[in-house]
Symmetry: C2
Subunit: 425 residues, 2 copies
């Protein structure tokens, strides 16, 4: 029986000749995401992976239904697996915002689901770091959020030679559109053309733009001029004060496909242009009001960073650790009469947080030693009895080959001492 197409199994470590995915790689990303978000004072939250379908259609219109895993549950409710986190965030904030000082700085690492047509690199689920600042309209919040995005990527070993955040502005595009077209209802149609400009055949874009009263040349000139709005100027100066200027630049090619952005928008790309966007986001000042049915009106800005493109980029740049699992201790039982003593030693070490494994059934000593080496144990431990019948532990450092004996109660501390002094590479 096979898993569903577009879904991933996460084996503990990368398997030979398989995809880059593994639980170890995923936890590596999650750990870095979490620790940088914590350093920025963001708090983690989560919501249900299954939500009322209406939560997503309210935000994105009925057309999103085609891309959703949606169905009717046994209580006749229309429900959907979450394709994105922002509607859930907006719902949660609207319910309990009075409990929180503003701005609210929250992050989540949800698994998200979309029924995409199958193609390379297009999965039907992925994990995403979602970070949002709610309740602050000043561009200082935009800068804080974009700095978090940059530092998250830096924490994984990526440099300004690897990636850049392209900054743009819905306000700039709104103004440009209004100067050339009076039919405000067609603005979103125009944004969609801009969003596809870099991928689309120029002749097609030209035709579509002319139908809206624009020329491709004029649009390109506007993009090339890249005149920053006051908000973008403020973001750039703020990032420069932090020493992060080299990681961001104005690029009006970015506009973001979604309808609800209201201000600064941005996308992070690899510098060589080999991959799809690493992350993207923007300001969405009207969305919480929309989702809460007018109950709560708070400005907000957020971004999402998926695990798929990021892991592929890190692998390509040789920035993924070896994900070597290694034991602290492998216990060797040469004499089955010592098994009970060994179990006692194992318990003492595990109680101290030491990673210990051992042969569960009788096994030849040389095979046990081979196991210890294969599992890259730092130590072997053997239970012994002294001439007086006292239990003692003999532990051997497999790197230095130094061997010591200690009473059972001293074993865990002795092992921890060496592990701390010589952490695994």
């Amino acid at each position: 029986m096979e898993r569903l197409p577009g879904f991933r199994d996460f084996y503990p470590h990368p398997l030979p000749h398989q995809d880059v995915w593994s639980a170890a790689a995923r936890n590596h990303l999650f750990d870095r995401w979490r620790s940088v978000a914590h350093a920025y004072g963001f708090h983690e939250y989560d919501g249900p992976p299954l939500e009322p379908l209406e939560l997503f259609t309210t935000k994105s219109g009925e057309e999103i239904v085609d891309q959703l895993y949606c169905f009717e549950d046994k209580g006749k409710r229309s429900v959907a697996l979450r394709p994105e986190m922002t509607p859930t965030l907006a719902r949660m904030v609207a319910v309990h915002e009075r409990n929180y000082k503003k701005p609210i700085k929250w992050f989540a690492i949800p698994q998200l689901f979309r029924y995409e047509r199958q193609q390379k690199g297009r999965l039907r689920e992925h994990f995403q770091l979602n970070a949002d600042i709610v309740g602050e309209a000043d561009p200082a919040a935009d800068a804080e959020l974009i700095a978090l995005l940059i530092d998250t990527l830096r924490s994984l070993g990526l440099t300004s030679e690897d990636f850049v955040v392209r900054l743009s502005s819905r306000q700039a595009w709104q103004r440009y559109f209004a100067e050339h077209c009076q039919d405000e209802a067609r603005a979103y149609e125009f944004y969609q053309v801009i969003d596809k400009l870099e991928r689309e055949d120029p002749a097609v874009s030209e035709t579509k733009l002319q139908a809206l009263g624009f020329s491709l040349d004029a649009v390109r000139a506007f993009i090339d001029a890249g005149k920053p709005t006051p908000e973008l100027q403020s973001v750039i100066e703020n990032l420069a004060a932090r020493g992060l200027a080299e990681f961001a630049r104005i690029d009006y090619n970015v506009i973001r496909g979604l309808a609800y952005y209201t201000g600064v928008v941005f996308e992070a790309f690899d510098q060589k242009g080999e991959f799809r966007a690493i992350a993207g986001g923007g300001r969405y000042d009207g969305l919480i009001k929309l989702i809460s049915g007018g109950k709560t009106d708070l400005p907000a800005i957020g971004f999402g960073m998926g695990d798929v493109v990021l892991l592929e980029l890190l692998q390509k740049r040789n920035l993924l650790p070896a994900f070597d699992s290694r034991l602290d201790v492998f216990c060797i039982i040469e004499d089955e009469a010592r098994r009970a003593d060994t179990l006692r030693l194992i318990q003492l070490m595990r109680d101290a947080g030491i990673t210990v494994d051992f042969p569960m059934v009788s096994m030849k000593p040389d095979k046990q030693f081979k196991r210890a080496l294969e599992s890259k144990a730092r130590f072997t431990v053997r239970a012994e009895r002294t001439a007086e019948g006292q239990m003692q532990a003999r532990f051997k450092n497999l790197e230095t080959r130094v061997e010591e004996a200690t009473p059972p109660e001293g074993l865990a501390a002795a092992v921890v001492r060496v592990l701390r002094a010589n952490p695994a590479v």
Copy 2:
């Protein structure tokens, strides 16, 4: 717009007058689950939350469909949100078992879904620690797994006064059944009666048992005798060698409802009997063969421990931490001319992993100081300029009220030094 009934929002910290759930409480459980599993040499894995429906009906029969979130996807596949992890584990092991030395020791922390009738404490999703040992039939594996279960609960502060693991044996019950009834096809029907014995009206149980040729008194005598099988005897001696004897006892009231258990079965309960089972599991030596269509035949034993009962128990026993979020540093900006300098200091500290927050927009100094206290910051930091125009950082320990000044490049190290010497309580 509300979330679906039976699903939970995880706000960062427990909200006043709300349920015990929060992202902080969830991460507390996950951290303890992970660290004890690592100490035992278990490796983390995960699979898709959505699987082919057939994966679950193969294992549990068509009747499970009533309890599943299942639907037809856009590719006309019958799919279901996973109600348990074991079938996914069996599928994953069967595909790649040749890559792994036996026994395989794996754990996962999946979110699981069941369309349960709504009642208190019965959610429609929960998280579960799943731990399994695959490829070892000896009771030593049963003991290792049960020791992991015990130590997971101990790591959360629970003692033998709080919980006990009730050990039983499908082999013992099989033998008892075979001695009194020749119709092997009715064994599972009999197990279901035993499984409900403690909750069911005795008259109802008596009637059902008599229909199968048993008497309630004789069944009760068998349970009360509690004669251990050789496997159970071995598990108990193994746990005793580890010093864990007080956490487990034989109790043939336990039989586990599912059809596929083949050997030792067990459930962990709170000693006061106030809650449903904290965890349960058992040996399922035929399941991997069944799921893999006969391709892979490996013995296995596993357990699941949900987050819902466990969190309620920990709260009742006052064993949940305060989940106080506290900042390391709150930066105070008294003069907006120092904002750029402050941003630089913030970046230096966050690069060193220090948790820093600051007022994003101009704010009165006394209000800023109030914010620093509310967020329980350990330090305030201010950017200053010396008479010579050099930037320096003034940092104040809010506990000792000691204030120091340092050049920017010395700030992070100075803060880390104090934080390490005086970790947060």
